[in-house]
């Protein structure tokens, strides 16, 4: 390997890594606030890219049906929950939150299907379509188990991965898509070539990380999320509602996922089930950060991007093996550096 190739691979790795940064931050956000290891998160990334691809092809994105299905189920779950608790007057509010709001972008997409919208409209619409998926899934499958152990929540989230991949195949079909490039300039710095796509990916990751940081530091909602992740019961005592923090966490994470999907769409062909691997790679990055640290996750994610880039140069067939195997030494290092915690919740049965 010459230094030139090394440099190219490095730049490539940073670009891929910046996607993993966004996805990893979303995973840590969800985990720290709700204790859910949200395995299907990668699917949101893939769905967002596939949504944009469908729009660019002038088709109706399968996301419309996906969101509609999820919204109907969420409304039923929410309605039944409120009905049982005798809060009949609140049912209407639940229906607006879980039914009407997510369906607004879906309705717009449905009405504009086939129209040749400019990219400046298509992209925000694609993101708006995908963002409700996270909170809807939370309401349907995870909130009823909000007090269960981390392990149980993880098992549920793995089951959800199954379900989402099935829904993905149903609504997006088996073909792969690649979206049109967002930009196509090429910059030369001496002998180094950097595409504007790479710069866009890195810059977006940086901007969203910064926004997330500002949100946590300077807004009341952000502080509520942080408080919940430090101490759930304490946060509840001071009046922070666990349900709304969970919704907010999933909403923000979904946004990060959707943006990642838009960014990764033009660089690789994505299938309905490509998200799983993307999500898992981001997980490896997040585990490097111990699933709790945002900066640690960002560094871990960049490392995974680099590793993937160099591994695919060495042997492209075995790059996944390399990336996932690196988790083993990472966990060894983690297990030696973290103090043993006495986990009282290693229970599966209720």
């Amino acid at each position: 390997m010459t230094p030139d190739i090394g440099l190219i691979l490095g730049i490539d790795g940073i670009a891929t890594g910046s996607i993993y940064v966004l996805v990893g931050l979303g995973l840590v956000l969800i985990f720290s606030v709700t204790r859910v290891v949200f395995v299907p998160f990668g699917d949101i990334v893939a769905f967002s890219a596939l949504t944009l691809a469908s729009m660019q092809l002038g088709r109706m994105p399968g996301t419309v049906y996906l969101v509609a299905t999820l919204a109907i189920v969420a409304c039923l779950v929410e309605g039944a929950h409120k009905w049982r608790r005798g809060q009949k007057r609140r049912i209407a509010r639940g229906l607006v939150g879980y039914g009407v709001l997510p369906l607004i972008p879906a309705a717009i997409a449905w009405l504009t299907a086939g129209m040749d919208l400019p990219a400046g409209l298509q992209i925000p619409l694609a993101i708006a379509l995908v963002v409700p998926i996270g909170p809807l899934i939370e309401r349907i499958a995870l909130r009823p188990l909000a007090d269960a152990s981390v392990l149980l929540l993880l098992i549920v989230s793995v089951a959800l991965t199954f379900g989402l991949s099935g829904l993905g195949l149903l609504f997006f079909g088996p073909e792969g898509f690649r979206t049109k490039p967002l930009t196509s300039e090429i910059f030369r710095f001496g002998t180094v070539i950097v595409t504007s796509q790479t710069l866009l990916m890195v810059a977006t990751a940086a901007i969203f990380s910064l926004l997330l940081f500002l949100f946590f530091e300077h807004t009341l909602s952000g502080k509520a999320l942080r408080a919940t992740s430090v101490n759930r019961i304490g946060a509840r005592i001071v009046g922070i509602r666990p349900g709304s923090t969970a919704t907010l966490a999933f909403l923000l994470a979904s946004l990060l996922g959707a943006v990642s999907g838009i960014l990764i769409g033009p660089t690789t062909t994505l299938y309905y089930d490509s998200g799983f691997i993307i999500g898992l790679k981001a997980f490896v990055g997040a585990i490097i950060g111990g699933l709790v640290s945002y900066p640690g996750t960002a560094l871990g994610a960049i490392f995974i991007g680099m590793l993937e880039s160099f591994a695919s140069y060495w042997n492209s067939a075995l790059k996944e093996v390399v990336v996932f195997s690196v988790l083993i030494p990472v966990m060894l290092w983690r297990s030696l550096s973290l103090p043993q915690v006495d986990e009282e919740d290693a229970e599966v049965e209720g």
């Binding site: 099935g166 898992l280 966990m331 290693a346």
Partner: protein, 588 residues
């Protein structure tokens, strides 16, 4: 239903299964073969998840390693399938031991996440190695021969599969009722208590993980020689996840849950594949979605799986009365009055809080010493430092002349210190007798193999008798098979005392043993502790009931704000103005 009816039911089930090839279609036998092969893997998951509290999504990879190992050895090298079995199991154990050694120190969600990742890498590895035929796999795997009998026909290998499954189920059931099996069952719900009994959590986890991998390996070997062909697809992560759900759906808290779950999912899958195409051309997608919905609903509404429902119709297991046995060997107590425990300049800081500051005191053999002080004085922290549950920042602790400052919980337990906890740490879903039996762990020797083969019965009988004696001694021997979680909190504390006594300690450390007890119960506890003193057992206790302490102990150490205030006889302490000030505030 009586126990006898239960036995008859079991015999009927065995006869029905054994005669199956004579009355069902060969397709059904094929289905049963798959159920048996899946159930073996699920059995490992039940042991791992349901009993050991560890979760793995990667069992399919172990199945794959074994299947590929035997396929490669028997086709490329032309070896006998029986050699293939040895090779497959050896390789599985090796990989499991390596992976376990790395990941099992991390509890909770890291292990399952790790198994997802490594399940994926193994799958990609199978599909990309030339020696293993890449995605085409290895064809032409020979059938198994027993002597000159070929197990090629579906109905022949059926007997091998279900025979192996029956033996494996029996062995695991035996194991769970043995000394190491109790240690496995104690893993769920926190490691501090387990280590305080001298049980190595890491060792037990590792061996449990290896046993589960071995069962998966056996299944892989059977699979390779049954289907005569291996390719990566049956060992992918999806299958690994499915094995976990077989165990959960069947009932991960019960050994038969594995078979029930494997049968349930296999049959359901079969039915869906028949039915769904009639409704939609997207049958395959719908199948996945239906399973996901079932899994999520099961986890929300029936986490125990099917077995708890089925068990209502089955007879409860026989509870044999506990027979008297020879007592377990006891340690020689150090002679009364000799220095037993010495604590010097002990120091512990939590962030900015000096929880324990330069505390020093000594306890002599045969004494009852009370540690008292207002809430937050650092008493429980001192106990945690002495027993090794916390590491001290500075100072020295010696026990019987041995420096145990950095010894760790297990070595301290071996040295002869047993303890109870301020916040009760029991296994509520285990019986009283099993909880107390955990205390005898260091006094008994039977390992995994002896337990699995029931060679441990003589020792087990003695241990059970010992445990029963301790239950009787603390006065909760009415129903030794009642679950610990059914006791009121005060009695749970007493159960912890019985568990500590079962370890035959030289020093017993009790953290608020009388909290939550009624007055007569407190009197009985005081009597018990006086009796222990007569036997030469030394007692160190924290207690808030001043009357209880004053009437019982030989000496008192008073702590306040992390430091030792004074030390002396109950009368001297009672008279000391500093103590009055610490408890009541300044008089002046």
């Amino acid at each position: 239903m009586t126990r006898r009816a239960g036995t008859l039911l079991a015999i009927a089930a065995i006869v029905l299964l054994a005669a199956a090839p004579f009355y069902v279609a060969s397709f059904t036998i094929t289905l049963l073969n798959y159920i048996g092969i899946y159930a073996l893997v699920a059995l490992g998951v039940v042991l791992l998840t349901g009993f050991g509290g560890l979760t793995s999504f990667g069992q399919a990879a172990f199945v794959g390693i074994a299947a590929y190992a035997t396929a490669w050895l028997t086709t490329v090298e032309g070896a006998s399938p029986w050699l293939g079995l040895i090779f497959a199991l050896a390789l599985t154990v090796l990989v499991a031991a390596l992976l376990g050694a790395v990941t099992l120190r991390l509890g909770g969600h890291f292990l399952p996440l790790g198994t997802i990742a490594w399940g994926l890498s193994i799958f990609f590895l199978f599909g990309n190695l030339d020696a293993l035929g890449r995605h085409n796999g290895i064809a032409g795997v020979p059938p198994i021969f027993v002597g000159s009998i070929s197990l090629e026909p579906t109905t022949a290998i059926y007997y091998l599969i279900w025979g192996v499954l029956a033996v494996a189920t029996l062995v695991i059931a035996n194991l769970l009722e043995s000394r190491e099996g109790r240690a496995i069952r104690s893993l769920r719900g926190g490691v501090v208590m387990v280590e305080s009994l001298g049980i190595s959590v890491f060792r037990i986890r590792l061996i449990t993980f290896i046993i589960a991998a071995l069962l998966a390996g056996l299944s892989g070997w059977l699979y390779a020689h049954m289907s005569r062909y291996v390719s990566p697809a049956p060992f992918d992560l999806r299958m690994g996840i499915q094995y976990l759900f077989m165990a959960i759906l069947g009932g991960s808290g019960h050994i038969l849950g594995a078979v029930v779950g494997a049968a349930l999912i296999t049959l359901l899958q079969n039915t869906l594949q028949d039915v769904l195409p009639h409704f939609s051309r997207n049958g395959e997608q719908l199948e996945v979605i239906v399973f996901a919905v079932i899994y999520v609903l099961a986890l929300q509404f029936a986490r125990g799986g099917v077995m708890p429902f089925a068990l209502r119709f089955l007879p409860s297991r026989g509870r044999s009365a506990i027979a008297p046995g020879a007592p377990l060997p006891r340690r020689t107590m150090p002679p009364g009055g000799t220095p037993l425990l010495t604590v010097e300049r002990l120091f512990k800081r939590f962030g900015g809080l000096e929880a324990v500051n330069q505390v020093g005191f000594a306890v002599n053999a045969g004494e009852i010493v009370g540690l008292i002080g207002p809430n937050g004085a650092g008493k429980s922290t001192v106990f945690n430092l002495i027993t090794g549950a916390l590491a001290s920042d500075d100072g020295k602790i010696s026990f019987l002349g041995q420096d145990i400052t950095r010894a760790g919980q297990r070595r301290i337990a071996e040295a002869g210190i047993a303890r109870t906890f301020q916040h009760v740490k029991l296994r509520p879903s285990m019986s009283l007798i099993d909880n107390v039996l955990l205390g005898t762990y260091l006094r008994t020797r039977s390992g995994f193999v002896r337990g699995a083969l029931r060679l441990d019965r003589a020792e087990e009988m003695r241990a059970r008798y010992e445990a029963q004696l301790q239950l009787k001694r603390v006065g909760i021997d009415a129903d030794p098979y009642d679950l610990a979680g059914n006791l009121p909190l005060g009695r749970q504390r007493i159960l912890e005392v019985a568990r500590a006594l079962a370890a035959d300690p030289a020093l017993i450390i009790l953290d608020e043993p009388a909290a939550g007890l009624s007055r007569p119960e407190k009197t009985a506890l005081a009597e018990l502790l006086r009796g222990l003193r007569k036997e030469g057992v030394t007692v160190l206790l924290v207690e808030h009931d001043v009357e209880f302490v004053m009437g019982l102990v030989d000496r008192i150490v008073v702590m306040d704000f992390g430091a030792k205030l004074i030390e002396g006889t109950p009368a001297a302490v009672r008279a000391d103005p500093r103590v009055q000030e610490a408890y009541l505030g300044s008089v002046a």
